[in-house]
Protein backbone atom coordinates (compact mmCIF):
# COMPACT_ATOMS: atom_id res chain seq x y z
CA UNK A 1 0.00 0.00 0.00
CA UNK A 2 2.81 2.38 0.91
CA UNK A 3 6.37 1.96 -0.29
CA UNK A 4 9.37 4.17 0.24
CA UNK A 5 12.57 4.03 -1.76
CA UNK A 6 15.86 5.44 -0.51
CA UNK A 7 14.27 8.24 1.47
CA UNK A 8 16.82 10.85 2.51
CA UNK A 9 16.27 13.99 4.52
CA UNK A 10 18.57 16.63 5.94
CA UNK A 11 17.56 19.41 8.30
CA UNK A 12 20.49 21.74 7.85
CA UNK A 13 23.54 19.72 8.83
CA UNK A 14 21.47 17.08 10.57
CA UNK A 15 21.06 13.94 8.47
CA UNK A 16 17.70 12.68 9.72
CA UNK A 17 16.77 9.97 7.24
CA UNK A 18 19.59 7.99 5.65
CA UNK A 19 18.00 6.00 2.87
CA UNK A 20 14.84 4.39 4.22
CA UNK A 21 13.52 1.51 2.10
CA UNK A 22 10.34 -0.07 3.29
CA UNK A 23 6.89 -1.21 2.31
CA UNK A 24 3.65 -1.55 4.25
CA UNK A 25 0.48 -3.37 3.24
CA UNK A 26 -3.11 -3.42 4.47
CA UNK A 27 -4.51 -5.36 7.41
CA UNK A 28 -1.43 -4.77 9.53
CA UNK A 29 -0.48 -2.73 12.52
CA UNK A 30 3.09 -1.53 12.10
CA UNK A 31 4.86 -0.12 15.09
CA UNK A 32 7.70 2.26 14.43
CA UNK A 33 10.01 2.47 17.40
CA UNK A 34 13.38 3.99 18.05
CA UNK A 35 15.15 6.44 20.35
CA UNK A 36 14.16 10.10 20.42
CA UNK A 37 15.42 11.87 17.34
CA UNK A 38 15.83 8.68 15.32
CA UNK A 39 13.64 10.03 12.50
CA UNK A 40 10.27 8.44 13.31
CA UNK A 41 8.24 11.62 13.03
CA UNK A 42 10.21 12.76 9.98
CA UNK A 43 9.46 9.45 8.24
CA UNK A 44 5.78 9.80 9.05
CA UNK A 45 5.65 13.41 7.97
CA UNK A 46 7.40 12.55 4.70
CA UNK A 47 4.76 9.95 3.94
CA UNK A 48 2.12 12.58 4.67
CA UNK A 49 3.83 15.14 2.47
CA UNK A 50 4.30 17.55 5.37
CA UNK A 51 8.04 17.22 5.03
CA UNK A 52 9.53 17.15 1.55
CA UNK A 53 12.28 14.53 1.32
CA UNK A 54 15.58 15.50 -0.32
CA UNK A 55 15.98 12.24 -2.21
CA UNK A 56 14.01 9.07 -2.76
CA UNK A 57 10.45 8.26 -3.67
CA UNK A 58 7.24 7.42 -1.86
CA UNK A 59 4.58 5.32 -3.54
CA UNK A 60 0.99 5.05 -2.44
CA UNK A 61 -0.84 2.18 -4.18
CA UNK A 62 2.09 2.08 -6.63
CA UNK A 63 1.70 5.74 -7.56
CA UNK A 64 4.45 8.25 -6.91
CA UNK A 65 3.10 10.82 -4.47
CA UNK A 66 5.46 13.66 -5.45
CA UNK A 67 3.35 16.65 -6.54
CA UNK A 68 0.18 14.71 -5.80
CA UNK A 69 -2.19 15.39 -2.95
CA UNK A 70 -5.20 13.24 -3.75
CA UNK A 71 -3.69 10.20 -2.01
CA UNK A 72 -4.18 11.99 1.30
CA UNK A 73 -7.91 11.28 0.95
CA UNK A 74 -6.98 7.79 2.11
CA UNK A 75 -4.90 8.80 5.11
CA UNK A 76 -6.01 9.76 8.58
CA UNK A 77 -3.27 11.40 10.64
CA UNK A 78 -3.05 11.89 14.35
CA UNK A 79 -0.13 14.17 15.23
CA UNK A 80 2.04 13.79 18.31
CA UNK A 81 0.92 17.18 19.57
CA UNK A 82 -2.30 18.29 17.93
CA UNK A 83 -2.40 22.02 17.31
CA UNK A 84 -5.65 23.60 16.20
CA UNK A 85 -6.93 27.10 15.48
CA UNK A 86 -7.34 28.54 18.97
CA UNK A 87 -10.36 30.72 18.33
CA UNK A 88 -12.34 27.88 16.85
CA UNK A 89 -14.85 25.90 18.84
CA UNK A 90 -14.59 22.12 18.74
CA UNK A 91 -17.85 21.76 16.82
CA UNK A 92 -16.69 24.31 14.26
CA UNK A 93 -13.42 22.43 13.85
CA UNK A 94 -15.23 19.19 13.03
CA UNK A 95 -17.66 20.99 10.71
CA UNK A 96 -14.75 22.65 8.93
CA UNK A 97 -12.83 19.41 8.46
CA UNK A 98 -15.92 17.76 6.99
CA UNK A 99 -16.40 20.73 4.70
CA UNK A 100 -12.77 20.73 3.55
CA UNK A 101 -12.41 16.98 3.01
CA UNK A 102 -15.63 16.60 1.02
CA UNK A 103 -15.44 12.90 1.85
CA UNK A 104 -17.81 10.67 -0.04
CA UNK A 105 -17.43 7.59 2.15
CA UNK A 106 -19.55 7.22 5.27
CA UNK A 107 -18.24 9.05 8.32
CA UNK A 108 -16.96 7.06 11.25
CA UNK A 109 -18.12 8.87 14.37
CA UNK A 110 -17.48 6.02 16.77
CA UNK A 111 -14.59 7.69 18.59
CA UNK A 112 -16.45 10.98 18.67
CA UNK A 113 -19.21 9.27 20.61
CA UNK A 114 -17.06 7.05 22.78
CA UNK A 115 -14.89 9.95 23.91
CA UNK A 116 -18.09 11.98 24.56
CA UNK A 117 -16.70 14.83 22.49
CA UNK A 118 -20.07 15.96 21.12
CA UNK A 119 -20.96 17.23 24.59
CA UNK A 120 -17.99 19.64 24.42
CA UNK A 121 -18.70 20.98 20.93
CA UNK A 122 -19.09 24.58 22.03
CA UNK A 123 -15.78 24.73 23.90
CA UNK A 124 -13.05 26.79 22.22
CA UNK A 125 -10.00 24.72 21.25
CA UNK A 126 -7.62 26.83 23.34
CA UNK A 127 -9.40 25.88 26.57
CA UNK A 128 -9.00 22.12 26.06
CA UNK A 129 -6.58 20.04 28.09
CA UNK A 130 -3.77 18.13 26.37
CA UNK A 131 -5.62 14.84 26.74
CA UNK A 132 -8.86 16.19 25.28
CA UNK A 133 -6.93 17.66 22.36
CA UNK A 134 -5.44 14.19 21.78
CA UNK A 135 -8.96 12.76 21.75
CA UNK A 136 -9.96 15.34 19.15
CA UNK A 137 -6.93 14.40 17.04
CA UNK A 138 -7.80 10.72 17.27
CA UNK A 139 -11.45 11.29 16.41
CA UNK A 140 -10.42 13.40 13.40
CA UNK A 141 -7.97 10.77 12.15
CA UNK A 142 -10.65 8.07 12.13
CA UNK A 143 -13.55 10.31 11.08
CA UNK A 144 -13.25 9.95 7.31
CA UNK A 145 -12.85 6.19 7.33
CA UNK A 146 -9.45 6.24 5.60
CA UNK A 147 -7.69 3.04 4.60
CA UNK A 148 -4.40 4.15 6.14
CA UNK A 149 -4.08 5.50 9.66
CA UNK A 150 -0.90 7.17 10.82
CA UNK A 151 -0.79 7.72 14.54
CA UNK A 152 2.17 9.48 16.15
CA UNK A 153 2.36 8.43 19.81
CA UNK A 154 -1.42 8.12 20.07
CA UNK A 155 -1.77 7.13 23.70
CA UNK A 156 0.66 9.68 25.18
CA UNK A 157 -1.41 11.98 27.37
CA UNK A 158 -4.58 9.90 27.23
CA UNK A 159 -6.16 8.53 30.39
CA UNK A 160 -6.31 4.72 30.75
CA UNK A 161 -9.96 4.50 29.71
CA UNK A 162 -9.43 6.58 26.58
CA UNK A 163 -6.25 4.62 25.79
CA UNK A 164 -8.17 1.36 25.90
CA UNK A 165 -10.90 2.76 23.64
CA UNK A 166 -8.30 3.91 21.14
CA UNK A 167 -6.41 0.60 21.20
CA UNK A 168 -9.63 -1.31 20.59
CA UNK A 169 -10.38 1.02 17.70
CA UNK A 170 -6.93 0.43 16.21
CA UNK A 171 -7.39 -3.34 16.35
CA UNK A 172 -10.85 -2.99 14.81
CA UNK A 173 -9.43 -0.92 11.95
CA UNK A 174 -6.82 -3.60 11.34
CA UNK A 175 -9.63 -6.19 11.20
CA UNK A 176 -11.25 -4.11 8.47
CA UNK A 177 -8.11 -4.49 6.35
CA UNK A 178 -6.69 -1.07 7.08
CA UNK A 179 -3.05 -0.25 7.47
CA UNK A 180 -2.19 1.33 10.80
CA UNK A 181 1.22 2.87 11.40
CA UNK A 182 1.86 3.70 15.05
CA UNK A 183 4.88 5.16 16.77
CA UNK A 184 5.21 4.46 20.44
CA UNK A 185 7.68 4.23 23.28
CA UNK A 186 5.54 1.96 25.43
CA UNK A 187 6.63 -1.62 24.77
CA UNK A 188 3.66 -3.30 26.44
CA UNK A 189 1.37 -1.34 24.17
CA UNK A 190 3.39 -2.20 21.10
CA UNK A 191 3.18 -5.85 22.06
CA UNK A 192 -0.61 -5.62 22.44
CA UNK A 193 -1.28 -3.99 19.08
CA UNK A 194 1.50 -4.45 16.58
CA UNK A 195 2.08 -7.21 14.05
CA UNK A 196 5.41 -5.93 12.85
CA UNK A 197 8.02 -3.74 14.42
CA UNK A 198 10.23 -1.32 12.58
CA UNK A 199 13.22 -0.16 14.56
CA UNK A 200 14.66 3.12 13.35
CA UNK A 201 18.10 4.08 14.57
CA UNK A 202 19.85 7.26 13.47
CA UNK A 203 17.82 7.50 10.30
CA UNK A 204 18.20 3.90 9.18
CA UNK A 205 16.00 0.85 9.56
CA UNK A 206 17.77 -1.39 12.01
CA UNK A 207 15.23 -4.20 11.69
CA UNK A 208 11.69 -4.71 10.44
CA UNK A 209 10.29 -7.97 11.74
CA UNK A 210 7.14 -9.58 13.09
CA UNK A 211 6.87 -9.82 16.87
CA UNK A 212 6.80 -13.63 16.72
CA UNK A 213 10.05 -13.70 14.75
CA UNK A 214 11.69 -11.34 17.18
CA UNK A 215 10.76 -13.49 20.15
CA UNK A 216 11.76 -16.72 18.45
CA UNK A 217 15.08 -15.28 17.41
CA UNK A 218 16.03 -14.14 20.87
CA UNK A 219 14.26 -16.76 22.91
CA UNK A 220 12.71 -14.08 25.11
CA UNK A 221 9.10 -13.99 26.27
CA UNK A 222 8.85 -10.25 26.75
CA UNK A 223 9.12 -7.95 23.75
CA UNK A 224 11.07 -5.30 25.63
CA UNK A 225 13.76 -7.81 26.57
CA UNK A 226 13.84 -9.27 23.07
CA UNK A 227 14.50 -5.85 21.58
CA UNK A 228 17.11 -5.01 24.20
CA UNK A 229 18.89 -8.28 23.37
CA UNK A 230 18.94 -7.51 19.68
CA UNK A 231 20.25 -4.03 20.33
CA UNK A 232 23.08 -5.39 22.48
CA UNK A 233 23.98 -7.99 19.89
CA UNK A 234 24.14 -5.36 17.17
CA UNK A 235 26.30 -3.16 19.37
CA UNK A 236 28.81 -5.98 19.84
CA UNK A 237 29.17 -6.74 16.14
Amino acid sequence: MIRTENLEKHFGKLHVLKGVNTSFSGGEVISVIGPNGSGKTTLIKSILGMVVADKGKIYFDNKDVANDFTYRHHIGYMPQIGRYPENMKMGQLFAMMKDLRKSTSALDEELLNEFHLTAMFDKPMRTLSGGTTQKVSAALAFLFNPKVLILDEPTAGLDPVASEILKAKILKAKGEGKLVIVTSHIMSEVEEMADKIMYLFEGKINFFKTIADLKAETGEEKLGKAIAKIMKREANV
Binding site: V52, R72, N87, D99
Partner: protein, 255 residues
Amino acid sequence: MFKISKYVIYDILRSKVLIAYTLFLLAVSFALFSLETDGAKSVVSLLSIVLIIVPLISVVFTTTYFYNAYEFIELLVAQPLSRNTILLGEFLGVAVSMTAAFLIGIGIPVLIYSPTATGGVLLLSGVVLTLSFVSIAFFSSVAMRDKAKGIGMSLLLWFYFAVIYDAIVLGILFSFSDYPLDKVVIALASLNPIDMARIMVLMKLDISALMGFTGAVYKQFFGSSFGLLYTMAIMLVWIILPLIVAVRIFKKKNL
Protein backbone atom coordinates in the same frame (compact mmCIF):
# COMPACT_ATOMS: atom_id res chain seq x y z
CA MET B 1 -9.39 27.47 -2.21
CA PHE B 2 -12.46 29.65 -1.58
CA LYS B 3 -13.44 27.42 1.32
CA ILE B 4 -10.09 28.05 2.96
CA SER B 5 -10.48 31.78 2.35
CA LYS B 6 -13.91 31.64 3.95
CA TYR B 7 -12.46 30.18 7.17
CA VAL B 8 -9.59 32.67 7.10
CA ILE B 9 -12.07 35.55 6.88
CA TYR B 10 -14.18 34.13 9.74
CA ASP B 11 -11.05 33.88 11.82
CA ILE B 12 -9.91 37.42 11.01
CA LEU B 13 -13.33 38.87 11.83
CA ARG B 14 -13.25 37.18 15.21
CA SER B 15 -9.92 38.79 16.14
CA LYS B 16 -11.26 42.40 16.03
CA VAL B 17 -7.87 43.86 15.03
CA LEU B 18 -9.23 44.41 11.55
CA ILE B 19 -12.27 46.23 12.90
CA ALA B 20 -9.98 48.53 14.90
CA TYR B 21 -8.01 49.25 11.69
CA THR B 22 -11.21 50.09 9.80
CA LEU B 23 -12.39 52.42 12.58
CA PHE B 24 -8.97 54.11 12.68
CA LEU B 25 -9.07 54.79 8.92
CA LEU B 26 -12.65 56.07 9.20
CA ALA B 27 -11.73 58.42 12.03
CA VAL B 28 -8.66 59.79 10.24
CA SER B 29 -10.43 60.39 6.96
CA PHE B 30 -13.50 62.02 8.49
CA ALA B 31 -11.22 64.23 10.56
CA LEU B 32 -9.20 65.29 7.50
CA PHE B 33 -12.28 65.98 5.42
CA SER B 34 -13.92 68.09 8.11
CA LEU B 35 -10.73 70.16 8.64
CA GLU B 36 -10.61 71.27 5.00
CA THR B 37 -13.41 72.70 2.95
CA ASP B 38 -11.60 71.84 -0.27
CA GLY B 39 -11.97 68.08 -0.84
CA ALA B 40 -8.91 67.91 -3.11
CA LYS B 41 -6.62 69.18 -0.34
CA SER B 42 -7.90 66.52 2.05
CA VAL B 43 -7.22 63.91 -0.61
CA VAL B 44 -3.58 65.01 -0.65
CA SER B 45 -3.43 64.69 3.13
CA LEU B 46 -5.08 61.29 2.91
CA LEU B 47 -2.50 60.31 0.32
CA SER B 48 0.28 60.33 2.91
CA ILE B 49 -1.82 58.03 5.13
CA VAL B 50 -2.41 55.71 2.20
CA LEU B 51 1.26 55.68 1.24
CA ILE B 52 2.74 55.09 4.69
CA ILE B 53 0.17 53.70 7.13
CA VAL B 54 -1.73 51.37 4.82
CA PRO B 55 1.36 49.43 3.69
CA LEU B 56 2.65 49.30 7.27
CA ILE B 57 -0.58 47.88 8.70
CA SER B 58 -0.96 45.49 5.78
CA VAL B 59 2.51 44.10 6.31
CA VAL B 60 2.32 43.80 10.10
CA PHE B 61 -1.20 42.39 10.18
CA THR B 62 -0.53 39.82 7.47
CA THR B 63 2.71 38.59 9.00
CA THR B 64 1.27 38.21 12.50
CA TYR B 65 -1.82 36.57 11.07
CA PHE B 66 0.25 34.07 9.11
CA TYR B 67 2.26 32.96 12.14
CA ASN B 68 -0.87 32.75 14.29
CA ALA B 69 -2.53 30.61 11.62
CA TYR B 70 0.45 28.24 11.53
CA GLU B 71 -1.51 25.52 13.34
CA PHE B 72 -4.31 25.84 10.86
CA ILE B 73 -1.88 25.56 7.94
CA GLU B 74 -0.24 22.54 9.55
CA LEU B 75 -3.63 20.92 9.87
CA LEU B 76 -4.48 21.63 6.24
CA VAL B 77 -1.20 20.31 4.86
CA ALA B 78 -1.99 16.79 6.12
CA GLN B 79 -5.35 16.90 4.32
CA PRO B 80 -6.00 16.12 0.67
CA LEU B 81 -5.39 19.70 -0.44
CA SER B 82 -2.59 20.94 -2.64
CA ARG B 83 -0.12 23.38 -1.17
CA ASN B 84 -0.98 25.91 -3.88
CA THR B 85 -4.61 25.83 -2.83
CA ILE B 86 -3.69 26.27 0.83
CA LEU B 87 -1.42 29.27 0.37
CA LEU B 88 -3.56 31.00 -2.25
CA GLY B 89 -6.63 30.41 -0.10
CA GLU B 90 -4.87 32.01 2.85
CA PHE B 91 -3.73 34.93 0.67
CA LEU B 92 -7.18 35.50 -0.75
CA GLY B 93 -8.76 35.49 2.70
CA VAL B 94 -6.30 38.04 4.11
CA ALA B 95 -6.34 40.15 0.92
CA VAL B 96 -10.14 40.34 0.82
CA SER B 97 -10.35 41.31 4.50
CA MET B 98 -7.66 43.99 4.24
CA THR B 99 -9.12 45.45 1.05
CA ALA B 100 -12.59 45.53 2.56
CA ALA B 101 -11.26 47.33 5.64
CA PHE B 102 -9.52 49.90 3.43
CA LEU B 103 -12.53 50.45 1.19
CA ILE B 104 -14.80 50.98 4.17
CA GLY B 105 -12.34 53.11 6.13
CA ILE B 106 -11.18 55.42 3.34
CA GLY B 107 -13.68 54.67 0.56
CA ILE B 108 -16.86 55.76 2.33
CA PRO B 109 -15.52 59.20 3.43
CA VAL B 110 -14.03 59.81 -0.03
CA LEU B 111 -17.33 58.95 -1.68
CA ILE B 112 -19.16 61.31 0.63
CA TYR B 113 -16.79 64.32 0.52
CA SER B 114 -14.80 64.02 -2.67
CA PRO B 115 -16.41 61.73 -5.24
CA THR B 116 -14.00 62.84 -7.99
CA ALA B 117 -11.63 61.07 -10.35
CA THR B 118 -8.79 61.96 -7.98
CA GLY B 119 -10.63 60.30 -5.11
CA GLY B 120 -11.13 57.25 -7.32
CA VAL B 121 -7.42 57.05 -8.15
CA LEU B 122 -6.58 57.41 -4.47
CA LEU B 123 -8.81 54.44 -3.65
CA LEU B 124 -7.41 52.41 -6.52
CA SER B 125 -3.83 53.06 -5.48
CA GLY B 126 -4.70 52.21 -1.87
CA VAL B 127 -6.23 48.88 -2.87
CA VAL B 128 -3.26 48.01 -5.05
CA LEU B 129 -0.82 48.99 -2.28
CA THR B 130 -2.74 46.88 0.24
CA LEU B 131 -2.61 43.88 -2.07
CA SER B 132 1.06 44.22 -2.91
CA PHE B 133 2.08 44.60 0.73
CA VAL B 134 -0.04 41.63 1.78
CA SER B 135 1.78 39.73 -0.94
CA ILE B 136 5.20 40.95 0.25
CA ALA B 137 4.28 39.97 3.83
CA PHE B 138 3.33 36.47 2.65
CA PHE B 139 6.73 36.19 1.04
CA SER B 140 8.60 37.10 4.21
CA SER B 141 6.43 34.92 6.47
CA VAL B 142 6.83 31.86 4.26
CA ALA B 143 10.57 32.45 3.87
CA MET B 144 11.25 32.76 7.61
CA ARG B 145 10.44 29.97 10.01
CA ASP B 146 10.88 32.11 13.08
CA LYS B 147 8.07 34.55 13.93
CA ALA B 148 10.35 37.34 15.12
CA LYS B 149 12.52 37.06 12.00
CA GLY B 150 9.45 37.06 9.77
CA ILE B 151 7.99 40.19 11.32
CA GLY B 152 11.43 41.80 11.28
CA MET B 153 11.86 41.08 7.61
CA SER B 154 8.38 42.40 6.79
CA LEU B 155 9.06 45.62 8.69
CA LEU B 156 12.44 45.99 7.05
CA LEU B 157 10.90 45.64 3.60
CA TRP B 158 8.26 48.22 4.47
CA PHE B 159 10.92 50.59 5.83
CA TYR B 160 12.98 50.08 2.69
CA PHE B 161 10.12 50.90 0.33
CA ALA B 162 8.68 53.74 2.42
CA VAL B 163 11.86 55.53 3.50
CA ILE B 164 15.23 54.14 2.44
CA TYR B 165 14.38 53.74 -1.22
CA ASP B 166 13.62 57.42 -1.71
CA ALA B 167 16.91 58.34 -0.11
CA ILE B 168 18.75 56.04 -2.49
CA VAL B 169 16.91 57.49 -5.49
CA LEU B 170 17.74 61.02 -4.35
CA GLY B 171 21.35 60.05 -3.93
CA ILE B 172 21.49 58.65 -7.44
CA LEU B 173 19.79 61.72 -8.89
CA PHE B 174 22.29 64.03 -7.18
CA SER B 175 25.42 62.12 -8.05
CA PHE B 176 24.47 61.67 -11.70
CA SER B 177 22.77 65.00 -12.26
CA ASP B 178 25.06 65.74 -15.21
CA TYR B 179 23.57 62.89 -17.22
CA PRO B 180 20.14 62.55 -18.85
CA LEU B 181 18.17 60.69 -16.23
CA ASP B 182 14.58 60.73 -17.50
CA LYS B 183 14.43 57.01 -18.37
CA VAL B 184 16.34 56.06 -15.25
CA VAL B 185 13.92 58.00 -13.07
CA ILE B 186 10.97 56.11 -14.50
CA ALA B 187 12.73 52.76 -14.10
CA LEU B 188 13.66 53.60 -10.50
CA ALA B 189 10.08 54.54 -9.66
CA SER B 190 8.86 51.21 -11.05
CA LEU B 191 10.99 49.34 -8.55
CA ASN B 192 8.93 50.63 -5.64
CA PRO B 193 5.16 50.07 -5.34
CA ILE B 194 4.79 53.05 -2.99
CA ASP B 195 6.40 55.37 -5.56
CA MET B 196 4.13 54.03 -8.26
CA ALA B 197 1.06 54.68 -6.14
CA ARG B 198 2.27 58.19 -5.29
CA ILE B 199 2.84 59.02 -8.95
CA MET B 200 -0.57 57.64 -9.89
CA VAL B 201 -2.35 60.02 -7.53
CA LEU B 202 -0.10 63.06 -8.11
CA MET B 203 -0.65 62.84 -11.86
CA LYS B 204 -4.38 63.22 -11.24
CA LEU B 205 -3.83 66.18 -8.94
CA ASP B 206 -2.06 68.35 -11.56
CA ILE B 207 0.55 69.47 -9.08
CA SER B 208 3.40 67.71 -10.87
CA ALA B 209 4.64 71.13 -11.95
CA LEU B 210 5.77 71.58 -8.34
CA MET B 211 8.15 68.70 -8.69
CA GLY B 212 10.37 70.45 -11.25
CA PHE B 213 12.18 68.51 -13.93
CA THR B 214 11.28 65.05 -12.64
CA GLY B 215 7.67 66.16 -12.46
CA ALA B 216 7.79 67.14 -16.12
CA VAL B 217 9.22 63.76 -17.06
CA TYR B 218 6.59 62.02 -14.97
CA LYS B 219 3.83 64.12 -16.48
CA GLN B 220 4.97 63.36 -20.00
CA PHE B 221 5.30 59.62 -19.41
CA PHE B 222 2.79 58.67 -16.69
CA GLY B 223 0.22 61.25 -17.82
CA SER B 224 -0.20 59.48 -21.15
CA SER B 225 -2.59 56.58 -21.53
CA PHE B 226 0.37 54.28 -22.15
CA GLY B 227 1.83 55.53 -18.90
CA LEU B 228 -1.35 54.61 -17.05
CA LEU B 229 -1.31 51.10 -18.53
CA TYR B 230 2.35 50.82 -17.63
CA THR B 231 1.62 51.86 -14.03
CA MET B 232 -1.17 49.33 -13.70
CA ALA B 233 0.98 46.56 -15.18
CA ILE B 234 3.87 47.30 -12.82
CA MET B 235 1.54 47.42 -9.81
CA LEU B 236 0.12 44.07 -10.84
CA VAL B 237 3.64 42.66 -10.99
CA TRP B 238 4.18 43.95 -7.44
CA ILE B 239 1.16 41.94 -6.31
CA ILE B 240 1.84 38.75 -8.23
CA LEU B 241 5.61 38.41 -8.07
CA PRO B 242 6.07 38.17 -4.26
CA LEU B 243 3.11 35.78 -4.17
CA ILE B 244 4.60 33.49 -6.81
CA VAL B 245 7.90 33.40 -4.94
CA ALA B 246 5.99 32.66 -1.70
CA VAL B 247 4.11 29.76 -3.34
CA ARG B 248 7.37 28.34 -4.65
CA ILE B 249 9.00 28.41 -1.22
CA PHE B 250 5.88 27.06 0.46
CA LYS B 251 5.76 24.03 -1.85
CA LYS B 252 9.13 22.88 -0.52
CA LYS B 253 8.60 23.99 3.08
CA ASN B 254 8.83 21.45 5.91
CA LEU B 255 6.00 21.80 8.39
